[in-house]
């Protein structure tokens, strides 16, 4: 715990703002996307109901936010609008049901899909790169701390920070989701967290460990995070260029959060992501404890 505090204090507050702001913006965007189908269905339903009322009051044309309709001339039959309302109600109920089916998984995929990937990459890069760049690591190694303790602490701090950020973001998104559903007048019970909500964790840890390794190699705080981001983006672009395949780590994470469909099972994707996290952590640990000269100027 002492070492964790030491490493945390050597991280620049300004540098930490980058991943925090970026992740917060992506989480806010993701939250609005979660209720997108409900919002669209509700808009259609409200418009058809308004259209019916307008036609009953003698209007010929109606233009709402989502629906436009005309009965051609006054006095024409508009009983078909009832059918549209019923269809809109079905669509709305289906949209609500899909959200309420497993809101935890929905929130988890939204939070872990992209928003916290940046956070994990940056925090990992800064946890290992900042103490090296600010010579705090060199000072520590000259004053009673060992490389093993440093490496262990860096990996532990990154793991804790990633998991803590994930839990906090997940709970925040769930609160926002329920607030949004309440504002729509949707009745719901507080669902217990599902196991599916854990799916993004292996991938996030992989990105965190990628950040750690980048920070250790680059030896600079924010720069370590940026290099990790570039590597992750290159991975994503390669998978897009050569077709989404099980050969790319980003694909494993995308499979886990349901944004990619590849010929691989979910357990395999989760296992590969977790395994890659362990391998990167081990490589970072061995690199720092056996090879990395620490800058002292």
């Amino acid at each position: 715990m002492r070492n964790l505090r030491g490493i945390f204090n050597s991280m620049s507050p300004a540098g930490l703002l980058i991943p925090l702001v970026l992740s917060a913006l992506l989480i806010a965007q993701g939250t609005s996307l979660m209720t997108r189908e409900i919002d669209a269905a509700k808009c259609g339903l409200d418009d058809w109901r308004a259209a019916l009322e307008a036609f009953e009051n003698g209007a010929v044309d109606f233009q709402g936010r989502c629906v436009g309709a005309s009965i051609g001339a006054p006095g024409q039959d508009f009983s078909w609008v009832d059918e549209q309302i019923q269809a809109a109600e079905v669509a709305y109920d289906a949209a609500v049901a899909s959200v309420l089916a497993d809101p935890w998984k929905l929130a988890a995929d939204s939070v872990g899909g992209i928003a916290l990937v940046f956070f994990a990459l940056f925090v990992g890069g800064m946890a290992s790169g900042s103490p090296l760049g600010s010579v705090v690591a060199a000072w520590g190694l000259s004053n009673g701390w060992t490389r093993r303790a440093w490496a262990r602490s860096t990996l532990t701090l990154t793991t804790f920070a990633t998991l803590a950020a994930y839990v906090v973001a997940l709970l925040a998104v769930m609160a926002l989701l329920y607030a949004r559903l309440s504002s729509l007048g949707i009745d719901f019970g507080l669902a217990a967290p599902s196991l599916e909500a854990l799916h993004p964790i292996p991938g996030l840890l992989y990105f965190g460990m990628l950040g750690v390794l980048s920070g250790m190699i680059v030896g600079r705080g924010e720069m370590g995070g940026l290099v990790a981001v570039v590597v992750a983006i290159a991975d994503f672009m390669l998978s897009a260029r050569f077709g989404v395949s099980p050969w790319f780590p980003t694909t494993w994470h995308q499979t886990a959060v349901g944004t990619a469909t590849v010929p691989m099972s979910l357990p395999l994707a989760l296992g590969l992501a977790a395994g890659a996290a362990v391998v990167l952590a081990l490589v970072g640990y061995l690199f720092f404890t056996r090879r990395r000269d620490v800058p002292d100027r």
Binding site: N9, V135, W139, S142, N143, G144, D293, D296
Partner: protein, 244 residues
């Protein structure tokens, strides 16, 4: 911690360090223990590299370092050493509060640190806002505040005012009296030679001299000049190969 004779012994065995094609240290076998040892040499001679290797900051290309009988890098070895090190400008964001949080983790005796900072007259302000000399004094206070059996000082007088030199001289002498070891690397001897029990001279990564200070001083005739000047002359003669 009980200080024993063996816990202050630092021994390097055929120590080599290469940075790319540059050989910074070339098969240096040297040892130092209780008392003060002057590590002398020109700029780029390999003094800082030797200290970095002893401190475990860089890895040797070949050879070994033993600290108090423990392999460098182990917790037992790390517990025996302290080192003066100035934080660079890139650490400007480290406010005094953050620095205290970091240093506290490393068993710095905070009361002693405050006392030394007061004695060195270091202003209580953000590290990045201290003058170069005061940053050096801060680093020295921090190093002496750890009170470890082995202390590594790297150019401790470069940029230090005369008052600071006086305090530093006293602190090193106190350590010697209490049976602790102090290695002082310098390219320009400004501390009185009386302070040191022995000297190690390296140049271009090679060991030129390892013995008592008197032996080094014998390389130059005593013409009544200041002791520090005589030591500097002896060092110059040894490095340039011109003997008395």
């Amino acid at each position: 911690m009980t200080v024993t004779t063996t816990s202050t012994e630092v021994v390097t065995d055929r120590l080599c360090k290469q940075f790319g094609k540059v050989v910074a240290l070339d098969h240096v076998t040297v040892g130092f223990g209780t008392g003060a040892t002057a590590l002398l040499g020109r700029n780029g001679a390999g003094k800082t590299t030797l200290i970095n290797l002893v401190a475990g900051v860089v890895f040797p290309t070949s050879g070994t370092v033993s600290i108090g009988g423990h392999r460098v890098g182990t917790q037992a070895a790390a517990d025996l050493i302290a080192r003066q090190m100035e934080l660079p400008t890139t650490a400007g964001f480290l406010t005094p509060k953050r620095l205290r949080r970091i240093f506290r983790l490393s068993d710095v005796e905070t009361d002693r640190l405050h006392g030394l900072l007061e004695e060195f007259a270091v202003p209580d302000r953000a590290h990045g806002k201290l003058s170069t000399g005061n940053q050096l004094k801060f680093a020295l206070a921090l190093a002496f505040a750890r009170n470890r059996p082995i202390l590594l000082l790297d150019e401790p007088t470069a940029g230090l005012d005369i008052f600071g030199v006086e305090i530093l001289t006293r602190l090193i002498a106190e350590r010697t009296r209490s049976g602790q070891a102090t290695l002082v690397a310098t390219h320009q001897p400004t501390l009185t030679p009386d302070l040191f029990d022995r000297a190690v001279v390296i140049d271009q990564g090679r060991l030129l001299y390892d013995g008592n200070l008197d032996g080094l001083l014998q390389l130059t005739p005593d013409t009544g000049e200041a002791a520090t000047t005589r030591l500097a002359n002896a060092m110059t003669r040894l490095i340039t190969g011109v003997t008395a």
